[in-house]
């Protein structure tokens, strides 16, 4: 309960930071849209219409109040340039974000489902055969993947699997009509990229968590009571490793989501990351704020889940003395 409320406080603090950061950025949407030569009165009118003339604190609470009701406001862009024109094409932020959020969640979800089991298996087996050639090459390669930036990894994949050996498309454009198989096919490269950039870290941390536990006395005790290698790992080491492992997974899933900003851009995938980049470019405040808030809450939620797993897997916390 305490953790839950702390999480809420964190999200709230984030919302303040997000809001103030974007509000205090130089320039605003009104000058951006009307251009350098716009008259002062036109700018003023547009600002009034968008509510930008109100003091920031009022605007923040208006925004927050609406967010609580699931209303993220309407996007600034798409709005008619001429004052008084009735043909307002502005779109609701929610309607703008939801389909893209689905796309991003699909992308990161698939990548996570690939990366988590793979890195667990690799990490555990590397710990089991510590200092073998297998372990050394696995940790070595993972170090390389962790250190390469997302866009670099992405371009390598494009070079290998799209240009030299044209197996997958370089552009991952999906829409509502795409079938599941099509989606898998089109998103293959971004999924691979996201998998690779997060897997290294998860694998290495799993390995070190397991190795740490393998040197503890109860593992020696388990060996001396005749437990097999498999039993030692699965029954004795792993239950005590869930807490650190789940923390690492949470961080990496969050990292994946943030990494998707770059990856979506490279592969031109219609996800929330790309939407955010575009909106920042256009000074489209409501959209940027909504995206940032979604990123922040995802991070908090993932960490909460990791904490929860940590508590459930640890009898010390679950059953007090």
């Amino acid at each position: 309960m305490l953790r839950l409320s702390l999480g809420l406080v964190t999200v709230f603090a984030f919302s303040v930071i997000i809001f103030s950061t974007f509000s205090f950025l130089p320039g605003d949407f009104a000058t951006e849209i009307l251009g350098q030569s716009a008259t002062k009165s036109a700018v003023k009118a547009l600002r009034a219409e968008l509510g930008l003339d109100k003091p920031p604190v009022t605007r923040y609470f208006d925004w927050l109040g609406n967010v609580f009701q699931g209303d993220f406001g309407s996007s600034f862009s798409g709005r008619s340039k001429v004052q008084g024109d009735q043909g307002d094409r502005s779109r609701e932020v929610v309607g703008l974000i939801v389909p893209r959020l689905k796309n991003t969640l699909f992308l990161t979800g698939v990548a996570a489902m690939l990366a988590i089991p793979l890195s667990l298996i690799l990490g555990i087996s590397a710990a089991l055969y510590r200092n073998s050639y297998y372990d050394r090459s696995a940790t070595g390669v993972s170090l390389v993947t962790v250190s390469s930036p997302e866009f670099f990894t992405a371009y390598i994949f494009i070079l290998l699997l799209a240009t030299l050996f044209p197996v997958f498309p370089t552009i991952s454009n999906v829409d509502e009509a795409s079938t599941l198989a099509e989606r898998f096919y089109r998103t293959a490269l971004p999924v691979f990229t996201l998998t690779l950039i997060t897997m290294g870290h998860m694998m290495r941390m799993t390995r070190s968590a397991i190795i740490n536990i393998l040197s503890s006395e109860y593992i020696e005790m388990a060996k001396l009571s005749g437990a097999s290698r498999y039993e030692v790992i699965v029954k004795h080491a792993l239950p005590n490793a869930w807490a650190p492992i789940s923390q690492v997974i949470a961080i990496n899933l969050a990292y994946m989501l943030i990494g998707s900003v770059v990856v979506e851009y490279v592969f031109n995938y219609q996800g929330i990351g790309r939407l955010m980049v575009g909106s920042v470019y256009n000074r489209d405040l409501p959209v940027v704020q909504a995206c940032a808030l979604i990123f922040a809450s995802t991070y908090v939620i993932l960490n909460l889940i990791a904490d929860l797993i940590g508590i459930i897997s640890n009898p010390r916390l679950l059953y007090p003395k």
């Binding site: 040197s215 503890s216 006395e217 109860y218 020696e220 005790m221 388990a222 060996k223 001396l224 009571s225 005749g226 437990a227 097999s228 029954k235 004795h236 239950p239 005590n240 897997s313 640890n314 009898p315 010390r316 059953y319 003395k321």
Partner: protein, 537 residues
């Protein structure tokens, strides 16, 4: 202990050589030790740390720790040479034919599983009896080990029971598959004397009951005297001597074996003083909401040694923390040399801080591993006395001489020192502040008997030369006898009694002091039996 043990050979280890890898090179841990054990017999293996006794005990299972390997030797168990078996084959013997009871029960149980599941896991592997039969048997084992609530204790997790109980549950776990041999590796070293008695008697009766052979490893002669039929003394990986328990105790042949007694022979005439260095009056203290000290009053006479004794959780160390200001008291006052000390560390003057120093139990963790001896001792000299440069160095060397080391130690790091040397450096660091009062918190309990004696002698010598006052916190009665003038007995955060050594250690005793003193193992093989008879009557 019955003497009519069978003469059927169970284990025969011949010429065991084991090397260990540390500090980038191989060291010899065992240099050709032999060992024989008959069915139903208990062999005591004793020696200081580093003697190779634990390695020998594990080698009896054909197991070596990571980083160690058996160079040569035979380990014949029931006619099979364990040294030649593969890991896979040995696993069929481990836990079922030979089982192991480790020193630290708290660290040796898997925190993630219930005690019952761990108790029967080895026996379960045999697939002879179904799980529910094993569980019933385990409950009976718990009962015969006198565990409270034997029916349900197995449903708990390791952190939910006490250290003494865990150690007994581990014995039950070792006994569950009815092994032919149990290795007890310092099973009571981490326990209080009062708990130790219970665990020892429980172990002894259950080993007797099933006529199981055992190797009992310890550094405490008095403990091994209660358990073993025969005793083997190891030193530096070699055998010193071996004899039947009674012979060994009454007539040890080797000088080394005799020296194992020595700390118990150190005696100090008691003196006291009406002039108090420190008086604490009606102190209450708490960690968070749990109150650990209740109305504690202690007087420490100037230039004398006051020993505070009690089992863990009695509030001895907390008292030290209150005196040093690390834990401000809730109530009561501390008078130091006639003046009142403020409870909080931050509010005390540098001079007050200088005059009270503390030496901790674990010298390993009390020193910065990246600082040389020169820096460790030099800093308090500089900090409290403002002495720098050449003068400082001279002072450090003078202190090193005082603790019977020399200037060759100046550039060493703590990792390059032995346990006893480390503790000496900690003493020098305390002396560097030129204090009036030194609190020694279990300073010898992590050390071997012989090293202990050296440290205690050094502390006595320093007291004579410098007139410094000691508060000596310990749970070891032998140490108390050796060093103290006055004794304070604490129990559950209260002072049971305070007085001269001769008064406290002689009857009539309050109930708790009686229990504490009678629980201290003596060099008499019949001590435990007599004690249990006396307590039950």
């Amino acid at each position: 202990m019955t003497s009519n043990k069978s003469k059927e050979l169970l284990l025969e280890m011949k010429n065991i050589h084991i090397d260990g890898f540390s500090d980038e090179r191989w060291h010899k841990i065992l240099k050709g030790v032999d060992l024989t054990l008959h069915r139903g017999e208990i062999l005591g293996l004793i020696g200081e740390s580093g003697a190779g006794k634990s390695t020998m005990g594990k080698a009896a299972m054909g197991y070596t720790q990571p980083g160690c390997k058996i160079i040569k030797g035979e380990i014949n168990f029931n006619g099979i040479d364990l040294a030649k078996l593969t890991e896979f084959e040995k696993r069929k013997i481990w836990g079922t034919k030979i089982s192991y009871v480790a020193q630290s029960a708290a660290a040796s149980f898997n925190p993630a599983h219930r005690l019952m599941d761990q108790t029967i896991s080895a026996a379960n592997r045999l697939k002879i009896n179904p799980t529910d039969v094993l569980k019933k048997d385990a409950v009976q084992l718990y009962e015969s080990l006198q565990l409270p609530d034997a029916e349900n204790i197995g449903d708990r997790y390791p952190h939910q029971v006490s250290g003494g109980q865990l150690q007994r549950i581990m014995t039950a776990m070792a006994m569950s598959p009815r092994p032919e041999l149990i290795i007890f590796d310092e099973p009571t070293t981490a326990l209080d004397v009062t708990t130790q008695v219970e665990v020892l008697s429980a172990m002894r009766s259950i080993v007797d009951k099933f006529n199981t052979a055992a190797i009992y490893i310890t550094h405490d002669l008095a403990v091994v005297a209660q358990m073993a039929d025969r005793i083997k003394v190891l030193r530096y990986g070699e055998e010193v001597e071996e004899a039947e328990t009674r012979d060994m105790l009454s007539n040890p042949k080797e000088e080394y074996t005799k020296s194992l007694w020595s700390v118990r022979s150190l005696i100090k005439p008691e003196e006291t003083n009406e002039d108090y260095m420190l008086s604490i009056k009606n102190i209450d203290a708490a960690y968070g909401s749990s109150k650990v000290l209740h109305n504690v009053s202690i007087d420490i006479p100037k230039g004398k040694t006051v020993a505070i004794v009690g089992e863990s959780g009695s509030g001895k160390s907390t008292t030290a923390r209150v005196i040093t200001g690390l834990l401000p008291q809730l109530k009561g006052e501390i008078i130091f040399d006639g003046k009142k000390l403020s409870p909080k560390l931050e509010q005390r003057s540098k001079e007050e801080l200088r005059r009270i120093q503390i030496i901790f139990q674990m010298p390993d963790t009390a020193m910065n591993p990246r600082q040389t001896v020169d820096e460790i001792i030099g800093r308090p000299i500089e900090f409290y006395q403002g002495i720098k440069g050449k003068e400082r160095e001279a002072k450090v060397i003078e202190l090193l001489k005082m603790i019977e080391l020399d200037e060759t130690f100046l550039d060493r790091l703590p990792s390059e020192l032995s346990g006893g040397q480390k503790q000496r450096i900690c003493i020098a660091r305390a002396l560097a502040a030129n204090p009036d009062l030194i609190i020694c918190d279990e300073v010898t309990s992590a050390l071997d008997q012989i090293v202990q004696e050296g440290i205690l002698k050094l502390l006595q010598k320093l007291q004579k030369e410098l007139g410094v006052t000691y508060i000596f916190i310990t749970h070891d009665i032998a140490t108390v006898k050796a060093i103290s003038d006055e004794i304070v007995v604490m129990y559950q955060g209260e002072v049971v009694e305070q007085g001269l050594k001769s008064k406290i250690l002689n009857p009539p005793y309050p109930d708790y002091t009686e229990l504490l003193l009678s629980s201290v193992p003596e060099m008499d093989p019949d001590w435990l039996t007599n004690l249990l008879n006396k307590r039950s009557s």
